[in-house]
Subunit: 672 residues, 2 copies
Amino acid sequence: MDISELRAKHPDHWMKAAALRMLAVDAVQAANSGHPGMPMGMADVATVLFERHLKFHGPSPDWPDRDRFVLSAGHGSMLLYALLHLTGAPGMTMDELRRFRQLGAKTAGHPEYGHAPGVETTTGPLGQGLATAVGMAMAEQSMQARFGKKAVDHRTWVIAGDGCLMEGISQEAIGLAGRQRLNKLIVLWDDNGISIDGAVSLADVTDQKARFAASGWTVLECDGHDPDDIDRALTAARGADAPVLVACRTHIGFGSPAKQDSAAAHGAPLGADEIARLREIYGWPYPPFEIPAEVAAAWKAIGERGAAEKAAWEERMARLSPARQAEFARVIAGEPPKKLSAAIRRLKKQISETRPKVATRKASENALAVINPVMPETIGGSADLTGSNNTRTPDLEPFTPENRKGRYVFYGIREHGMAAAMNGLALHGGCAPYGGTFLVFSDYARGAMRLSALMGVRTVYVMTHDSIGLGEDGPTHQPVEHLAMLRATPNMNVFRPADGVETAEAWELALMARSTPSVLALSRQNLPTVRTRHTNRNLTAQGAYVLAEADHKRRAIILATGSEVEIALAARELLEADGIGARVVSMPCWELFSAQDEAYRRKVLPAGPVRVAVEAASPFGWDRWLCGERGSEKKAAFVGMEGFGASAPAPDLYRHFGITAEAVAQKVRDLL
Amino acid sequence: MDISELRAKHPDHWMKAAALRMLAVDAVQAANSGHPGMPMGMADVATVLFERHLKFHGPSPDWPDRDRFVLSAGHGSMLLYALLHLTGAPGMTMDELRRFRQLGAKTAGHPEYGHAPGVETTTGPLGQGLATAVGMAMAEQSMQARFGKKAVDHRTWVIAGDGCLMEGISQEAIGLAGRQRLNKLIVLWDDNGISIDGAVSLADVTDQKARFAASGWTVLECDGHDPDDIDRALTAARGADAPVLVACRTHIGFGSPAKQDSAAAHGAPLGADEIARLREIYGWPYPPFEIPAEVAAAWKAIGERGAAEKAAWEERMARLSPARQAEFARVIAGEPPKKLSAAIRRLKKQISETRPKVATRKASENALAVINPVMPETIGGSADLTGSNNTRTPDLEPFTPENRKGRYVFYGIREHGMAAAMNGLALHGGCAPYGGTFLVFSDYARGAMRLSALMGVRTVYVMTHDSIGLGEDGPTHQPVEHLAMLRATPNMNVFRPADGVETAEAWELALMARSTPSVLALSRQNLPTVRTRHTNRNLTAQGAYVLAEADHKRRAIILATGSEVEIALAARELLEADGIGARVVSMPCWELFSAQDEAYRRKVLPAGPVRVAVEAASPFGWDRWLCGERGSEKKAAFVGMEGFGASAPAPDLYRHFGITAEAVAQKVRDLL
């Protein structure tokens, strides 16, 4: 439908949509930066969605049973901000719109979770919103299974662009959603045929509708500028029994005389002249950031549409038993249950007493075996490595369309999609997701893992096979630089526990974290129990601690993490046998150690003794603790990997790369 | 077709295929580690491929016009090793097969490029082989366009598993290949319905054939255990006018009484009892690693099949002019042309004289403008950010099915697929690929970038918008930890040039590298020319160098890279104005600096003066140069990012995060 027909046939709709368009156009112009083309193209779809389909209450963006609306094409952020402003989201004032893309504004360049109420997830990196939405839709089903349809019954809507659909992560999301038959997930594809470099056809000839259908999606189409046709499609979408793609045929930069249907509309201000012309074409004579009263009122009414539904929901919730209400509130708030710490303490005690020799991946399974029964909100899974990641405990049934009470997700060979779905599960609320793969394949999941950290959500990455200790699979499977990569990422706790006790402690910390994702780097190979004396206190919470003090006069400190703590202890024995006193410091989490006060850090790592660190990974970053924090380059050395690994049995590799107690002891002697 | 029918109808085929199967089964059993199920399932397809379709000459795995054979399902490595051994690949002795997965063997757990002749690319991380093969098929077309069909005319064959197809990168590869209509790319899908966790249907219901067809592929099927049916499909595949998927219905662990069609066959030895049963079922009474003479002879003949074709090719090549022959040899060897260095020198001189203030992304374009005309083997591209990455020079036409002479690839919004295709272009030989995206989206490309480093191929990643200096797009687009992540990766040169001169030098080094990929981290924002005195010598080759010496007595060294070198120089001015002598060291490439001898490193970074480093990125790793390399924690500080960025104009962000000349100068004063 073209503009003149649209304006003539649907004048009320037109003005509401024009408000979205002009707010976007003017904000981008004011910022001299941003993406006007997408809001101009999708304003009609968004208007119909918000006016007739989205279950929401503008002033209550935290209402747990709201429909989730995800702007996967995050560059079109002004569309979202305009919608939030017009429908009454708290704090999303016209001033915030005026300050689009300025320091401290709620209106960041791309939607940032936590910056503004109503932003359901951070988007911008393409495909992430779509894949995150899959997790949200899974969370809705899981919560519904746990709390009933009266408490939880909503949809997840996504606006996605061509870029989202071209990114590989989209296929992982499509496949997962199709398998899980998430029929309350509806993706509105902004089918405008334009990407930054020009026509999409420069790079892609994919029939997207056929592609989605191939994974079991229901596929619908509409003219994205015809309100009736949009309404028809969205109505049909709500009745589908599979996830739905609605291909919305739109024009990027709709109405712009010079830039409609061109890449020029995508990512730059339209310019004053073009905007002036647009005001005429749109019949929108108002100055920037001014909305005529009747249009504002119409949008306000849309924002209030859900008030009654919300009130009814609150009434239904009030009828739940107090215990159920408290449980709902607890899991939505992301509070771990009180029983968790006691369960972890019991497990620790048992491990310290029985001193099993198991891989930390197995120790992780043992921890989950006490966690999952007391935390009904955990939802585990693996990217097709269940038996290797040890992520499934016997009480977890598969999460499937037939069994939404299941708490174990077969994510398939989709590390990136899994990580994004975990973000969605966490963002939705009510779920504590964890998921496993090999540590080296954090490479595949990086895009979504970074968003976990940026958004500050409680996701737990169970990353096993964390070094050359995995042996024969060889260098493609052996992480070397990955600990450095993850430690360099802000707001991410990277745990590399040395034994079952530290593993249990790491799990407790990961689940207690309120705004930080965690990575558990776990061994494939068996490791002895090094924490043989039980303590209720969670020593891993300090990040690093003295595991074994020197017997002789302390002349060396050996720092180690994970599977190399065993080597550090053996090196200590060798040195002590020679009369050289050596302390062993276990450092399961650098981030938490960095957060301790200086007095504690100095106590663990006093200046003076020589320091040798041992970790079967890249030395990158270790100078912080060796030469820095009052160490000294002349009295410090590292034992670990200088390059990629190799394919051989693990013991051969440790010898080959010189990561042995003898090598550590020798470094100490060389430095003394 | 089941085993009894197959053995009865095709006894000769059976024995050849059984040789592959038993070598795989026995090698995995000997190693007590590995993946027998896939070779057992795909042996029939591989036998027909090698016997009747693959253009190759076993003893000459480096013949440039050979068909490429990529085992994307790399865990099935024994299938490849068995094929290489039986067809006479140099060095792939039976002893190597016996030493499967042992230290130093050519028979690594997964196929490792460079470990054994005939391994075309490193595989194991799923999906990579498929996506790399797309680049190989592009290289073939590009080389054919440049050297003619008589010199270059071959196919690329891929064996891919369900895991390859579930990984997101596969969609990027499928989309790119479909758009490029690479009809000489043929993917043989091991359609066995089993993944590690069990039935593929646990995690996926995708109709793969429909999915490939949706991206313009020709889709064929065959019974993967019926030699005639396989032959029919492969024959048809060779005649297609689009890339081809052949869905080969197979049984994982074919013939194993206990493990066929089960995940148990996938990744563990079958066990002695099961193998004994299998010998009976296969009619293969021979001991492990023994091949009956007639079967060995049949395979040897297959290995020799291509001898005549190769001889004919050599004859045709000999008829080319000596200049063409030399040019072909040069680009296949990956030698940059002699003219390159002179062109770079001229450009550097011009920049030092005219001192433009341009972003290093623009400086990169300027460098490409002198490189591309003298290096016809460069193939550029971008993941839909051409105008932002400045990767296209006017002489580069788009590479399309209609114009294979084009040297610019519109990769689409597919960072991972682009990086893998670049690996394929480089591995094929004859092409020098470079490709652009934003530095932060190295996250999306990590899987393939790591393989660039592990394989040691000459790929050049043009990563623009390399810090908060990109401004308003905000934290999702602002790299913080990415320099650390890339620097921590072994065998990867990470260049962060400060101006046009360093950018040109970095480009020269990236193209001269023989076995190291390069990342160019480039600014969005304009930067002054800091190398204002021309020198023919490539100073960036030293990794770090004294850019500005102290005027007053040297009491401080300011270390900086890229866009912060300008800040370091301004800080130096502030300090010198106070009578504090300060040296500025530009560090465009840590890796190359680390490779210099100690004397040079000590000369650039003498012990004594205080040190302040400034880089708009995570401090992670900087202690190496601040507290280490004879610095001292008490006399060192870092100015940069401690967390994620924000959305605002770039100058506001630099002020907000305190990355200013004033802050650097103050840190120096505080330390003195």
